[in-house]
Amino acid sequence: MQEFAIILVSSILINNYVLVQFLGLCPFMGVSNKLESAIGMSAATTFVLTLTAMASYIVDVMVLMPLGLIYLRTIAFILVIAAVVQFTKMFIEKTSPLLYRVLGVFLPLITTNCAVLGVALQNASKDLNFMESSLYGFGAGAGFSLVLIFFSAMRERLAAADIPAPFEGAAIAMITAGLMSLAFMGFSGLV
């Protein structure tokens, strides 16, 4: 039980994918303008992360390892990710057209979100079991969601700030993310 708690705390806070490992920055900057779309993106990414962590574990253990094809991990995982993302995309398009529209190109781009591949590869290299892998994937997604949602709420507030013209928009968002990253360093050494 404590094991699982450690995995969660580690993946959400200490090794936060966005602010500590700097993975998945593309959707982090791109979809954080509005709280609503950030929440949608968070849900989608967490879903994809958890599902790919599970699926890639299965593929890894059931197919690649018995066949001695570990060197094919990256390609196989990308295949898994692409399929899961495509599935998610269809699902969202059907259930929430506005969200689909708002997420725009970032939804299919979850495929190339390095956090997703990162989780799958890290899981494989750490020799985690199925439960741990899934939890790790979920934790990574939750960490991503946490900072993305907070960040979008903050960007909504910054929208009305009197920011000097050269720093408006993405520039100040990057600075904010940088400062956040500093703050998250406070979590180092927790586990």
Binding site: L35, F150, F151, A153, M154, R157, A161, A183, G186, F187
Partner: protein
């Protein structure tokens, strides 16, 4: 006869932002005095150096942005930021540490966001964290409190202190030492009673830790004055202190060797009181509603304790405040007060009332 068209209300209370800021400055005096008495002239030098740098930076940026410099400097916000940073830095820190921190606070954390009122993070704490991560050695070298100095040794005088600050030599070995929070961080093998007996930091203390208890009492006194003058509400500070007390009580563990310290020790060590009354009460970067401030304060308290107890850093107020700043806009969206005539609280994000 023609008269001006002016919106109501026509009457105004006599309060103004600059007076509020000045009151905050006066309220730091007991804390500053305690720091100076207990740890020598270093803190005073820090404060002066930080204020000069901050005001200069603020003026330069305002000039650059073609804003009326005098008008904006009059709000004293840069001075407050600098004073808080100066108080937080270790006494006798090298001059460039103070200057870099102060510059970072004003330029990056405040003016890049548009100046007073727009900064999402507490500028003083941004400066502090940047320094802590960049210069860990300088930032964790604390002076030994006055009463624990060996016989015949005293804190450097003001001239000598200036020499130390500007020459960059570190203070003499006998003058620096561990803080109570450091002691607990690095003494995992001992039960609390043993620590209390063996370490003069505790054995000679009145109730929490030599030197630090007075500094914290100083800030507590200043904070109570501010509370009494209704500069801020009680919600944030009380929630934070209560959260620290609860957490330390929960993990007190009967004083075993695993214990991260007693509630009293945590409440009166490090930057607890200063954080509670001077840092998290910074209204710009905190949550806005009273309920939001309760959550915000409690979040800081919990984070402070977690990082102090299990993280790499002995004190954590700055990190906790920044993380809570980050969460504040989100908290605000879900902690609107119930408006007169409405049965339920609303969310800031909802389009139609349920």
């Amino acid at each position: 006869m023609a008269f001006k068209q002016i919106t109501s209300p026509h009457a105004h209370a006599a309060q103004n932002t600059s007076k509020v800021m000045q009151l905050v400055l006066w309220a730091t005096v007991p804390g500053l005095a305690a720091l100076t008495i207990q740890f020598g002239w270093g803190s005073l030098i820090n404060v002066v150096l930080a204020v000069v740098t901050a005001v200069a930076c603020e003026a330069a940026i305002l000039k650059l942005r073609k804003r009326p410099v005098a008008f904006y400097l009059q709000d004293y916000s840069a001075v407050v930021t600098a004073v808080l940073l100066g108080l937080a830095l270790p006494p006798l820190a090298a001059w460039w540490v103070v200057v870099v921190g102060s510059m970072f606070s004003i330029i990056i954390a405040k003016q890049l966001y548009g100046g007073l009122g727009y900064n999402p993070f507490n500028p003083a704490m941004v400066g502090y964290v940047v320094l802590l991560i960049s210069f860990p050695i300088q930032m964790t070298t604390w002076i030994t409190p006055l009463s624990l100095l060996p016989d015949g040794v005293s804190h450097p005088g003001i001239i000598e202190s200036l020499g130390i600050v500007f020459s960059g030599y570190s203070p003499a070995d006998g003058v620096t030492g561990a803080t109570p929070l450091d002691v607990f961080k690095h003494s995992s093998g001992l039960v609390v009673d043993q620590i209390y007996e063996s370490n003069p930091l505790f054995s000679q203390a009145a109730f929490a830790g030599v030197g630090w208890e007075w500094v914290n009492l100083g800030f507590l006194a200043g904070g109570i004055v501010l509370l009494a003058t209704r500069i801020f509400t009680w919600h944030g500070p009380v929630a934070m202190l209560a959260a620290i007390a609860m957490m330390s009580l929960l993990f007190w563990d009967g004083g075993s060797s695993e214990s991260p310290g007693s509630p009293l020790m945590h409440l009166f060590s490090g930057a607890s009181m200063m954080g509670a009354f001077f840092i998290l009460t910074d209204p710009v970067s905190s949550a806005v509603s009273n309920r939001g401030r309760l959550i915000y304060g409690a979040l800081i308290g919990v984070l402070v304790y977690i990082i102090r107890a299990w993280g790499n850093y002995p004190d954590a107020v700055a990190f906790a405040v920044l993380i809570a700043n980050f969460a504040a806009p989100f908290i605000d969206n879900y902690t609107l007060p119930r408006t007169y005539g409405h049965t339920d609280r609303r969310r800031a994000t909802e389009k139609e009332e349920d």
